[in-house]
Symmetry: D2
Subunit: 326 residues, 4 copies
């Protein structure tokens, strides 16, 4: 690999709050250290379509507080084909781009790893997803903001007048990972949490709620991750009603609003640190790595390892604590 | 009717942000003017159960910013029976309560009117409901906060990365009245608004969205009032997908979070003014009235009239404007 | 005056939340009705500097939720000279702009009136200022959002642990007008409100606070408009401390954060309605008018009248109510 | 030390968001594990005044989302005397309280350590302060929320119309520690950060700002920690104006609003974990410890060590990064 002159950054997959802080950090750190920098719009699709723009420090002014990503994201099937990859590579070459910072999740990393291996182009990845389901980092970018968004919604539901037989089911994101459900469940004092990783029987849920009723809880909130085996919040609500028809059940589905919102301080700083570290890693020759946060330290993990390992982040101690405190 | 010595206040029906400001105003105005004051918990049910407490100015300290109602609400079938009403009346009499301020919606007013007529007890009503569907007031208590809550949610959805074929359906409250949907639709720049008052055909919605697509809108947001004839947000989404299967549709159901949250400045001031005016009305002998806001003025409407009239609040000019600006 | 073909919109003076909704409405209504439309950057300065851009419907996509104004504002002394005005007029003429929508306050209106009279160019003005101090409209654009911003800040101060001898002074905007102070004072339950319109003696304030202490208030919040005669929050705090040195006083100065923030639903709808009405007024030949909201209706006021009249908006009934409820 | 039967919890010093989550966790964990539990109001003062209440699981229902502390705090000089400590001890003994969880800062810990040593009573401390200035924990309770509060305020200031010669000075909390200033400065993209730990000369600040002006920044934001040597935000603003009188400077002093607000998800979970761990530590005989968070793990530090060590938390790498990204 030859010397790096120009770095490009892109976001891919589902967007996450904090991505803009990260883009800003990549751009400004690159410029500060004397490198040119470009932004690729709509992820791999933009790479193929040559939807690429050179960036200067003003390209990223006043973006840190914005939700979403100014570079946008898109799904891109074409990048999975050799022709697509070749087209992307040709575009990068034409523009003198010789290193990449990729911000996204699992799918983004897979593409980045293959692309880097095929064309011997330096790539560093940054975990940007609200799901917090990646190996190699205690927190993914956007998770903190998403959890705050969820608890603000639940706080409002808590406000509503309480009666003894009312059950609120709130569906949160998490097809495979219950991280948002667990953290938001603890932080909102939910009476029960239904996770994709656990196969909670409806009868167990009922038991839990009845115990609550017995100790005179006036209303109950159940967090349901969308990947829960019972069919999400509506599925759980329906099954509970079949068994105990006296319950007045109400369903809220938060959906995509969990992806948006102005990023929290935590995510802005995390995004800044990760972007800053990604550029430094590229320059140091640390290729095919993922940037992560371990404790209070920024660390690098081999991209292959990050993709192969699957961290069971659903901390058992937190799960146990949730039960004690509910 | 004899001279008033002691006023009681209660909230009934669905709770609404601003009710606490209103309770505070009733309590403090009563005391200021030399009357005793009590709070009835859980509406008519508390009247029957004698769940009543004397209140002083500290009973309502630091409550203005809280969502919900410190007096709680409850459904009460018993109050519809002569025996229930008699029990309620006996409890009030026993406690020396000789006037009432009722905060709630349609159902609350109906009970209040009948109770007042039957026992010749002075009652003034205050429109507390997020639906803005009552005659005699430009705004009901809680509507402003609820609309703000909805647009904050939609703003977050707008943040998410945009693609040409993505449709977001957001279900908001409004079984019979589309006020929240219309106002929130305008304020969030929604591409389409589905209201219970209008029978929007799915084909018309599709037309509207395709026109949007033609003028290169990157993503579209459709607000669906829960009372929409097509079956709420899921119903509309399903039907759209049947016709145009290429759409990537996402559904959010805001549900009860629209009832909660710290009240807006508008609702706190409205609640304060209405509570203040209600006590003054009682003292002036203006019974069986509803307090309302017309323009910037507090007005009284005959309770019977408020119940019989049905205001078509769905302002046609706003509806037309929504179409022009979308 | 000849037929209008192209309308330009600009913002001037201090910016206010809701201006973007208003710009969007002017642009989209103009286009919808078949007129060309341009945006002038940085108010009168941009008119002189020819900092003007044609706008289409996408120029105003996704801006409604943003604070500030995408067209920016600037002070402009040059526009007060005949040469400046002539230069501005020449630029407009060159670009075929033959009608203006001006969004701003007092100073903006004065310039607009003179310009329109001098060059016989149709102008309609929209009251955009957080101060709510203009004649001809119950509400100015931005006032509702600013009041919400202030009460959210005060709510947080209320949260802090209470002690008997702690006094919080919070300075809010309002050099000449106490509208924000009064409304925010009521909505936050402040113990006292210091307004520029009233000459509250420090001894009266002390009396008020001691009465509060006597009835066992745990902490007290005093709202001070920046135009208060005692020298703002620091001035009041200093004088109180001189008299009663046992008080633990804390000062917060909210400053310019009151101008920012995502606009409330109320301001977005108000801005939309005003922009929509301004274009219609221009087309109907209603020149040199100010658009206002009276009750729930949009009304037009003669610009000269709006400038000459000074509405004493500091509603006495609200002031009295504030005292009763505090 | 004999077996523990009853644990009491109290908050002391400046209050911090997340204290309620922590109180809730102490109460519910104690009960769950079979211990009695009491709450002491107003910290050491309440211990001396016997302002103590037994708590059950409902005492802490629905408090997690509230700012401040339901147990309140107070300064207490009397506890520094042997007589005060003796009185406090007698009250605890009378009520059968034989272990304490103290939530607060430096001063709280000093008192707790001395009390525990003098009377051989088990105490575990929890770092509750927005300043993040304690040894033994990456984060103190309330720091995350406070930082979010600050950046939300700054985001609003960023919204206001931009001009080339406007400087905003925002004073944030931090008498001795610049943690809030540094983190909030990074997260809000401030152009300069003035910390108590650094002696930034006004001339250096001017240089920094002029560099910004040279690269065409439209407006600049300077974060000033209250402990900055130049006299806080007003002091810095005054000195800058003396040198460069063309600057239009605006000052915001956030003050006590930084202590309030509903706690973030991070602080609610941190508070829950720390409260849970504190009770477990007491039961395990781990006395005179401080509970802290290191990375993602809860750790215990010797209370004496926590008091003697002074961690320089002002991470140099973050400071450097702030300069690169500004």
């Amino acid at each position: 690999m030859s010397k790096i002159n120009k770095i490009a950054v892109f976001t891919s997959g589902g967007d996450a709050p904090g991505m803009n802080a990260c883009i800003r950090a990549v751009v400004r750190t690159s410029l500060y250290l004397g490198y040119d920098v470009a932004g690729i719009k709509q992820g791999y699709q933009g790479m193929i379509d040559d939807n690429i723009e050179d960036m200067n420090r003003h390209s990223v002014s006043n973006i840190m507080q914005l939700g979403g990503t100014i570079l946008k994201t898109a799904r891109c099937l074409a990048f999975k084909t050799p022709e697509g990859m070749q087209q992307a590579y040709d575009n990068l070459k034409k523009r003198g781009i010789d290193a990449l910072v990729a911000i996204g999740g699992d799918g983004t990393f897979t593409g980045a790893e293959r692309f880097s291996a095929t064309y011997d182009i330096p790539v560093v990845c940054i975990p940007g997803t609200i799901d917090n389901d990646l190996f190699g980092s205690d927190y993914t970018l956007g998770f903190d903001t998403a959890t705050n968004t969820v608890i603000e919604a639940i706080d409002k539901i808590r406000d509503t007048a309480e009666s003894h037989d009312r059950l609120f089911f709130i569906e949160v994101m998490g097809r495979d990972a219950g991280c948002i459900a667990l953290r938001a469940g603890i932080a909102s004092g939910a009476e029960a949490i239904m996770l994709p990783e656990k196969d909670t029987a409806i009868s167990d849920l009922i038991d839990m709620l009845e115990k609550g009723a017995a100790i005179k809880k006036s209303s109950s909130i159940v967090i349901v991750a969308e990947g829960d085996k019972n069919g999400g919040a509506f599925g759980v609500a329906k099954k509970v009603k079949e068994t105990f028809d006296f319950y007045d059940t109400k369903v809220t589905i938060l959906g995509h609003l969990q992806r948006g919102g102005s990023p929290s301080s935590f995510d802005r700083i995390l995004g800044s640190r990760m972007g800053y570290a990604a550029v430094k890693a590229l320059i140091n020759g640390d290729y095919r790595k993922m940037v992560g946060l371990r404790g209070n330290e920024i660390v690098l993990t081999d991209l292959k390892e990050a993709l192969n390992e699957h961290e069971f982040k659903l901390e058992d101690d937190l799960m146990e604590m949730a039960t004690v405190l509910a």
